[in-house]
Amino acid sequence: MSTTVADLVARALAAFDVLVTTAEPVSDEFQYVTDLTTVWGARLNAVAAARGPEEAPADADAAIDALAAEAARITDPHRAIDWLSTVPQIALAALGEAA
């Protein structure tokens, strides 16, 4: 069964949530993390709404796997916050969307 764009967006959002959890100890940045969750969630969900049932590019599946694994490797909460911008941009690029 082929992977859809919606599947990959859901996995990218799950990777994003992992980073949000890692970032939790930085309480001073709670609002910023919340803001990032809002804007990047909206951007990725817009892709799913527009192209969700579409078959994803074959190499995008492995790209999102690698991205999720990298997000899971990050243990430093400050770096996790930095990666809250990077995960969506890489996911969008893999799906052929503008960063």
Binding site: E29, Q31, Y32, D35, L36, T38, V39, W40, R43, P57, A58, D59, A60, A62, A63, D65, A66, L67, A69, E70, R73, I74, R79, I81, D82, W83, L84, S85, T86, P88, Q89, I90, A93, A94, G96, A98, A99
Partner: protein, 228 residues
């Protein structure tokens, strides 16, 4: 309005060695002519955990996979060179690479501005008659009569803080009070969406319309080009 070299303190002397490292120049040269996705690659690798290039090649199929430019083409070679150089930065250890990343953004900004205008200078203070001098220098300035510019450079959106915004706004209003014009702005090697939410939260009473924001996706604007 006058520009002046910043007085070197201990931090500046240490940082000058980082700025002069050939790897900083190499990464900046590569990123100056890169596409947006190649710049995202550079940011991810320099800020990542993995040091295995295969991980990054898998993560960026539009640069290294079947959808990428063919091997041997200038675009593909540039992707490979950015990956290799960014891994060298990542390999420097956490504290050093943090300084490297800042120096890379400054050097990149300098190169892009120099494509459009001149003279471009680094680490300069701006003095106004009857006003106390600011302590911190601006990272990159354009010291052109009638078209001066002052830019602060940040690796990530979290570098956008209230004091940075206030200093830029003060410089802009200082120039205006002397009847001059000074374009002020932030160059941030991070996604525009993230920069915008940060800027809105941190701006306080400052009217941010007077401050230019150049994020990762729009870096080519510094050079007067459209994004690649």
């Amino acid at each position: 309005m006058r520009f002046q070299d910043a007085k070197p303190d201990g931090r500046a002397i240490v940082y000058a060695h980082i700025q002069a490292d050939p790897l900083v120049a190499r990464v900046a040269d590569l990123l100056a002519v890169a596409t947006t996705v190649q710049r995202v690659l550079g940011r991810a690798v320099m800020n990542g955990e993995s040091t295995d290039p295969l991980v990054w090649r898998a993560m960026f199929p539009t640069l290294f996979g079947q959808r990428a430019a063919a091997a041997g083409t200038p675009e593909r070679e540039r992707s490979e060179a950015i990956l290799a150089a960014s891994l060298q930065v990542a390999d420097r250890g956490e504290q050093t690479r943090s300084q490297f990343r800042g120096a890379v953004v400054e050097a990149l900004t300098e190169r892009l501005l120099a494509e459009r205008t001149n003279p471009v200078r680094r680490e300069r203070r701006i003095l106004f008659d009857g006003r106390p001098a600011e302590i911190h220098p601006y990272d990159v300035t354009v010291e052109r009569d009638g078209a001066a510019e002052a830019w602060d450079c940040k690796w990530g959106a979290r570098g956008i803080k209230a004091d940075v915004i206030h200093q830029l706004d003060d410089a802009r209003t200082g120039a205006a009070s002397e009847g001059g014009k000074l374009l002020v702005g932030l160059v941030v090697f991070d996604a525009r969406r993230s920069c915008e939410v940060r800027l809105v939260r941190e701006r306080g009473p400052v009217a941010i319309e007077g401050i230019k924001l150049i994020a990762l996706e729009g870096l080519d604007r510094l050079a007067g080009r459209k994004p690649a």
